[in-house]
Every structure is written in structure tokens, then in C-alpha cells.
């Protein structure tokens, strides 16, 4: 423990300030309490100015353990700005939902056509009570997740194969371009005839919609790998497989994580599109069914749940990306 830090601890002890000290990975963290405020590290020492000032001044001698008042204010400003952004976001959402409800209540909109937040809520509650809500969610989620995984794994494998052999890449390039441009929904009737009307057809549709982008993005990531690093490995006598495992795959990891994010969105498009064409269950089915029988409450409720699920799945991928990129260093 550095000398000035001991002084700070002494100070804390003399003034009966709760003080905890820890060391991990060469970073020193501390925690102390002034009144009811717990201060951690060096970021929030503004609690009780005179007391904190003294501790801060002692700690400032070791720049690492404390920051100046200006820096603290700067950090505070950044935090405040972040808070404002979040608050405005929430306000917009609440405002729109509120306006929607109000307009439906006072009769500006016909709630039969536009539904309303309260009707959506009660529809969801009814579905949940009837026990069908989670059944439909489960079916769609299963189709989407399965399609997503198959598309990513298969797409990655195909990208590897194309990278390993330039001739194969040259041969298949125009096919990939055409498949990418083709609106996959055009294949709907074929898929129904080939795969039947069960969820295999929908998973197939999901894979079809997302796999091409997976292949193209992953391959682009492979091809973009630094040529100097490739030369370095070649000079060490690396074969193609070593090049792939030691360099190309780890180097293109950020591109792959990005691909995952794009693939999540496409997988949802694929599964809902599939359910539009042919299905007996799922959120897409609820939306189509609701539209056909003019139950707009059902359409809105299913759409709302879809928003939550798609956002949630994207968030999971984004969090995984953050962890992976952080661990990679």
C-alpha cells in the first residue's frame, strides 16, 4: 500500500469514515462512507465536501487513486448527458403511448381500427390467461433461434470453404450474388410444397433469408485480414489451415460479431415471413389471423410482443459481442 494511501486510510480512521481497501489486477480500489453515502473508487467523492476534500488531497498525491474536482465535474457532466438521453427516450415512448390511448378514449381514432394500449394490454392478459400466449411465443422463438443458429453455423462453414479455395469462391460468386438479390419470399410456394406446412418450412425460410448475408459478411471479414500478418505467417511456413485458425478466424472476430447482429434481424424477418406464408401457430400467425378477422387488438398485441423479443434477442447478441471483444483485448 503506497504511503499517501496509508495517510488517507489513517485520515478515514481518525474521522470514523468507513473505509475498505482492495487490490486486484494491480488496480487499487477503495470504498468509504460519509454519512449515508458510500463512495467507491475515486469517481464519487463529492458527498461531503470538506471531508472528501481532505481525503481527495491526500489521494491526489497518487494520481491513480483520486481525480481532481474538474475531472469529477467532467465525469458528472457526461453522466448527466447520458441520463438526459435516456429520459428523453422514455418520455417519447410514454408520450406516444399516452397520446394513442387518449385519442382512442376520446374518440379521435376508432379503437376498432387502431386498437389502444389498454386494449393491447387486456388482449395480452387474455392470451396469457388462455395459456396460448407462451405457446405462440415459444413457437416463433424456436423457429427464429433455430434458423439463426443454422444460418450462422452453416454460413460460417461455407465462408471458410470459400476462403480456403479461391477457385470455388470464383465459381460460386455469381450464385451468391443472385441468391442475395432474390426476394426469398418468392420461394414461398416452393418451400410449402417441398417442406410441408410445419415449422421445418419456416425454419428453412429463416435460414434462407439470413444465410447469404452471413456468408458474404464473414467472407468479407476473412478477406480483409491484414496482408502483412498473412505474409508473416507464410514466412513462418504456415499452411492454409494454420493461417485460418491462428490468424484469419481471430482477426475477423469483430466482423463476425457484427454479422451476428445483422443475422438476428434477418432471422426475425425470415421466421415472421414464413409464418405469414404458412403456419398454424406463432406470432406471425396471430398477426395474419388477427388481420383476417379484423381483430386489430390481436395484431397490435402480437406486434408489441414481437418488438420486445426482437429487441431482447438483439440486446443479448450485443452483450455477447461486448464480452467477446473485451476478452479479446
Amino acid at each position: 500500500m503506497p504511503e499517501s494511501f496509508k495517510l488517507a486510510r489513517q485520515y478515514a480512521a481518525n474521522n470514523k469514515i468507513y473505509f475498505k481497501y482492495g487490490q486486484k489486477n494491480r488496480r487499487i480500489s477503495f470504498k468509504f462512507q460519509i454519512g449515508g453515502t458510500i463512495c467507491r473508487n475515486y469517481l464519487c467523492m463529492g458527498g461531503a465536501p470538506p471531508l472528501c476534500e481532505a481525503v481527495r488531497n491526500t489521494l491526489m498525491k497518487h494520481k491513480k487513486y483520486a481525480c481532481s474536482l474538474q475531472h469529477e465535474q467532467y465525469l458528472k457532466k457526461i453522466r448527466r448527458n447520458k441520463l438526459i438521453v435516456h429520459a428523453v427516450r422514455a418520455a417519447i415512448l410514454l408520450g406516444l403511448v399516452g397520446l394513442w390511448e387518449l385519442c382512442a378514449q376520446v374518440g379521435v381514432f376508432d379503437p376498432f381500427i387502431t386498437s389502444s394500449p389498454s386494449r393491447v394490454a387486456s388482449t395480452i392478459a387474455d392470451l396469457a390467461a388462455a395459456g396460448t400466449l407462451f405457446y405462440h411465443i415459444g413457437i416463433t422463438l424456436m423457429e427464429t433461434v433455430a434458423g439463426f443458429f443454422i444460418a450462422v453455423v452453416l454460413g460460417y462453414a461455407i465462408a471458410v470453404a470459400l476462403w480456403l479455395n479461391e477457385h470455388i469462391r470464383a465459381v460460386f460468386e455469381p450464385y451468391i450474388v443472385v441468391l442475395n438479390a432474390l426476394p426469398k419470399i418468392a420461394l414461398g410456394p416452393l418451400i410449402i410444397i417441398w417442406m410441408g406446412t410445419g415449422y421445418t418450412a419456416i425454419i428453412f425460410m429463416t435460414v434462407l433469408v439470413s444465410i447469404i448475408v452471413c456468408i458474404m459478411n464473414v467472407l468479407a471479414g476473412f478477406v480483409a485480414v491484414d496482408k502483412t500478418k498473412q505474409l508473416l505467417l507464410r514466412s513462418m511456413g504456415a499452411n492454409k489451415f494454420a493461417m485460418l485458425v491462428k490468424l484469419v478466424m481471430p482477426a475477423s472476430l469483430p466482423a463476425f460479431m457484427n454479422t451476428l447482429k445483422v443475422a438476428v434481424g434477418l432471422a426475425w424477418i425470415g421466421s415472421i415471413m414464413g409464418e405469414y406464408i404458412v403456419s398454424r401457430a406463432g406470432l406471425g400467425y396471430l398477426i395474419v389471423y388477427g388481420g383476417q378477422v379484423f381483430k386489430l387488438d390481436l395484431v397490435m398485441a402480437a406486434t408489441f410482443i414481437l418488438c420486445l423479443l426482437a429487441g431482447g434477442m438483439y440486446a443479448i447478441v450485443a452483450i455477447i459481442e461486448k464480452i467477446v471483444i473485451k476478452r479479446r483485448g
Binding site: D226, T228, K229, L231, L232, L233, R234, S235, M236, G237, A238, A242, K246, L247, P250, A251, L253, R328, G329
Partner: protein, 242 residues
């Protein structure tokens, strides 16, 4: 004899045509010698290293390689940012299937010997440009090559770092008793570092002159301070036709 080029020519082909990179090149590098090859930019210097390393085969002529392995050091450090410094140093061991505890221990000792002990567990991003280049050199040495091929290894550094790293690399290579072939366009670097300077013409590269450099006691710093430095510099400059 560690490396000998005899009447070596190399032509490379692209769709738009063929280019003679080097033509009738003859020179040799003795065991333990530090040879610098200088030439105008774009004269096929890197081609010479690729030929020496055996990455490409000469169109005509013969290249004899003495015993021992070759290690390549590039213009940029090309450190893998997802690996720690230590893992970067182990890279050639993994590729050459020499990843034994003994070889790893040797590599770590080499790194410690040359001041990388505190950085072994760090990521390359936390290192300065000069330090990164030193890691690149230790990585090259980890597989215990006998001959080092240096492709303008200082050109990506700023001038001050460059002087320091230049001396650094020279000292390490000399104290490890390695043979080295350096290609560069920097005349003063060539004089400061090498035992012999080979001057090349513009493309297709031919040897226009060979100079043994033996003043200054072999230290780059003493060389630069020496009164003979300017004279040799002038001779090389004229041979390059600048």
C-alpha cells in the same frame, strides 16, 4: 556461407503484364555477418527477401542457403492484437510445431533478457512503437533462426524511436550471433548497422557496388559519430544515383 545468390533473376506476372524485379543478382552473406541491401524505392528489395526466405523461387539462377532456419521481420510489427505479448512471441513456435515447454522457456528468457519481462502479459496495444518492434524481433528470434531477414523494419517508426530501435535491434542481433540480411532505402541506417552494404540499381535490380564497412567498432552510435560516416554516405549516394 549462410546465404548465396548466384546470377538470380525473378520475374513476376500479373494480368496486365510481366515485370523483371531482379536480374542477374549475385551477392553473398557470410555466417554471422550483417549485410544491408540498399536501392531506390520500388527496386525489388522485398523480392530479394522473399527469394531468400524461399517464399518464391527464382526464375533463373541459384540461391544457396546454409544451415539453420530463417526468420522474417517486416516493415510493421504485425503483432496480433488479440494475443498477449507472450502469446505473440510463441506464435512461430506454434506454427513450426516447436511448441515445447523448453522452446517456450527459451523464448521467455530471451524476452526477459531484452527487457520485456514486465510486458509479457500485456496486450500489444499497451506498448509503444519501439517496444512493439522489439517484441517483433524477439518473436522472430523465438524459433531460433540462424539468419534474420529484415524488411525495412524501422520504416514505420518516427525518427527518434527509429534511431533507438535501430541500435536496439543491432545489439540484440549481434549479441545473439545471428546472420542478418537487411533491405532498406535508408543509406545512413545501412551504414550504421551493417558489416557490408550491397547497392542495387533501379528495377530490375542488379548489384552496382559492394562496400565492407569496418570503422567505428561495429556500434551504430559510434559509426554515426565517426568522421568516415559522411564520406561513405557520399559514395553510396552517388552509386544510387541520387
Amino acid at each position: 556461407m549462410s546465404l548465396k545468390f548466384t546470377d538470380v533473376s525473378y520475374t513476376y506476372h500479373t494480368v496486365s503484364g510481366e515485370t523483371d524485379a531482379v536480374s542477374g543478382l549475385t551477392f553473398s552473406v557470410d555466417e554471422g555477418q550483417f549485410v544491408a541491401v540498399i536501392g531506390p524505392s520500388g527496386c525489388g528489395k522485398s523480392t530479394i527477401l522473399s527469394l531468400a526466405a524461399g517464399l518464391i523461387s527464382p526464375t533463373r539462377g541459384r540461391i544457396e542457403r546454409g544451415g539453420g532456419q530463417f526468420g522474417y521481420m517486416l516493415q510493421t510489427d504485425a503483432l496480433f492484437e488479440w494475443r498477449t505479448v507472450e502469446q505473440n512471441i510463441f506464435l512461430p513456435l506454434e506454427i513450426k510445431k516447436k511448441n515445447t515447454p523448453e522452446m517456450r522457456k527459451n523464448a521467455v528468457e530471451l524476452a526477459k533478457k531484452y527487457g520485456l519481462e514486465d510486458f509479457l502479459k500485456k496486450s500489444p496495444a499497451q506498448l509503444s512503437g519501439g517496444m512493439r518492434q522489439r517484441v517483433a524481433l524477439i518473436r522472430t528470434l523465438a524459433a531460433q533462426p540462424q539468419t534474420l531477414l529484415l524488411d525495412e523494419p524501422f520504416s514505420a517508426l518516427d525518427y527518434q524511436t527509429r534511431l533507438a530501435v535501430c541500435d536496439d535491434v543491432h545489439d540484440i542481433i549481434k549479441s545473439e550471433k545471428k546472420t542478418a540480411l537487411l533491405v532498406t532505402h535508408d543509406i545512413s541506417e545501412a551504414i550504421a548497422l551493417s558489416d557490408k552494404v550491397v547497392v542495387l540499381s533501379a528495377r530490375p535490380a542488379r548489384v552496382v557496388g559492394e562496400h565492407i564497412i569496418d570503422f567505428g567498432g561495429g556500434s551504430p552510435k559510434k559509426r554515426r559519430e565517426s568522421s568516415r560516416f559522411a564520406a561513405v554516405f557520399e559514395v553510396l549516394r552517388q552509386e544510387l544515383g541520387i
